[in-house]
């Protein structure tokens, strides 16, 4: 197997393993489906160029997330992306959801979009990528106790949001 073939194989394995989760992560941090797709493509383009520097396959996920976060930071510095209406994004839906459950999911999505980045980022790393608190700490460069506090508060905010909007009927504004 030539070096190029091997390199392509490694890259394709990374793409197959992480592209979906990276897209989900990108979508929720930038709230823009077109930009999310672009961010993921740019992430993999940079990864392709720098693939030889990735010595530890076990570190690939964090490496890709770091590339994507840097790329997003650069993008966001230039221009605030236009937010997507979350309902326009294709979501994997369970058709058997009861109306109340569907409403709750919409509220949850709206709540996630409203979360401040300091709460949203660790939550996404944990839920989308399955990162442990220690891994999030390392990825974000903050202490583990700070990560745990932010994760707890993120969930509390989401629960509060659902209760508040659910009770006041604000969900109707979302459809």
């Amino acid at each position: 197997m030539t070096n190029d073939t091997e390199r392509t194989r490694r890259f394709n394995e990374l793409a197959e393993a992480y592209s979906t989760d990276l897209y989900r992560y990108a979508m929720w941090i930038c709230s823009n489906d077109a930009l999310a797709k672009d961010l993921v493509q740019e992430t993999f383009l940079r990864a392709w160029r720098a693939l030889d520097s990735l010595k530890d396959v076990g570190a690939a996920k964090s490496w890709l997330i770091t590339i994507l976060r840097r790329e997003y930071a650069r993008t966001f510095e230039r221009k605030v992306p236009k937010f997507t209406d979350v309902d326009k994004v294709v979501i994997v839906e369970d058709d058997e959801l009861e109306p109340d459950e569907r409403t709750e999911r919409v509220l949850l999505r709206q709540g996630i979009m409203k979360l401040e980045p300091k709460y949203r980022d660790p939550l996404l790393l944990q839920v989308v990528f399955g990162h442990s608190c220690s891994e999030i700490s390392e990825q974000l460069g903050i202490s583990k106790s700070a990560v745990m506090t932010q994760l707890f508060r993120a969930r509390e905010k989401l629960k509060t949001q659902i209760q508040k909007d659910g009770v006041t009927g604000n969900v109707h504004e979302l459809f």
């Binding site: 390199r7 392509t8 890259f11 394709n12 793409a15 197959e16 592209s19 979906t20 897209y23 989900r24 979508m27 929720w28 823009n32 489906d33 077109a34 930009l35 797709k37 672009d38 993921v40 493509q41 740019e42 993999f44 383009l45 392709w48 160029r49 720098a50 693939l51 030889d52 520097s53 650069r74 993008t75 230039r78 221009k79 992306p81 236009k82 994004v89 294709v90 979501i91 994997v92 369970d94 709750e104 999911r105 949850l108 999505r109 996630i112 939550l123 996404l124 944990q126 839920v127 989308v128 608190c133 990560v147 745990m148 506090t149 994760l151 707890f152 969930r155 509390e156 989401l158 629960k159």
Partner: protein, 238 residues
């Protein structure tokens, strides 16, 4: 010392799937602890489902197509460049050939631009590596003169109605404009279409075509002459 109820709630609020022995002991210590744990897991499943956004179709294939682009860390020699041209030309019509999902070029342009055009314009502020421009254009059986290449802020492969093309963002004195190069697609020269507050001018080239896309306040025709002079097509008569 065992975990109290408040500590337990906070721990699960941060890490709902925590299965440390101490956490499990606390969970089994009293019904209210168990109830909190069950609630936390139920919420987590809802959260997981809410975040489950489906990627656009074709994303994985687009990413895999990146391997046809040069690696920056490599020292590209002229022979390697020539080889990559041959490989890339061979690849056209294979990996990037899409089923013709648009009824017209106009529909394709509106659909393609609305998909990622604004995002690319927003991000296109860096100077593009000259070697990358040469590589991409060469693999599309074309070349680009410095007058246009020198003002490029972004370039990548993109799907077109008939195979692979290039999506570019150009810096102009009227702000950024987008060029979609479609090496295998014929257009009616000079046609202007509008969509989503944008306008596109179609330019027929010796082989294939290009579209200049800008806002409706920009004079997109101002880029036409430069485009015609700069993009040379059909270099190897493919």
């Amino acid at each position: 010392m065992s975990m109290n109820f408040s500590e337990f709630k906070k721990l699960l609020g941060a890490d709902p799937w925590n299965r440390d022995p101490e956490t499990l002991r606390a969970r089994n210590s009293a019904p209210e602890f168990e109830a909190v744990a069950v609630d936390a897991e139920a919420f987590e499943e809802k959260l997981q489902a809410a975040l489950n956004v489906q990627p656009p179709s074709g994303l994985l294939n687009d990413i895999k197509g990146i391997t046809q682009q040069p690696a920056q860390s490599r020292n590209w020699m002229p022979l390697a460049l020539a080889a990559s041209v041959l490989i890339a030309i061979g690849a056209v019509g294979m990996a990037w050939k899409q089923s013709n999902q648009w009824d017209s070029v106009e529909e394709y342009l509106a659909d393609h631009y609305s998909h990622d055009g604004p995002g690319l314009v927003a991000r296109a502020t860096d100077t593009v590596d000259e070697q990358l421009v040469i590589q991409i254009m060469a693999s599309l059986d074309a070349s680009m003169g410095q007058q246009l290449a020198g003002n490029l802020k972004f370039i990548k492969f993109c799907p077109t109605p008939e195979g692979r093309g290039a999506h570019m963002v150009v810096s102009t004195d009227q702000g950024p404009m987008t060029i979609i190069f479609m090496p295998k697609t014929q257009v009616t020269d000079g046609t202007v279409i509008t969509f989503d507050q944008m306008q596109a001018l179609m330019v027929s080239l010796e082989h294939g075509s290009a579209a200049i896309i800008g806002t409706q306040t920009q004079t997109i025709e101002s880029l036409e002459a430069v485009l015609r002079e700069s993009i040379k097509t059909g270099l190897v008569g493919a």
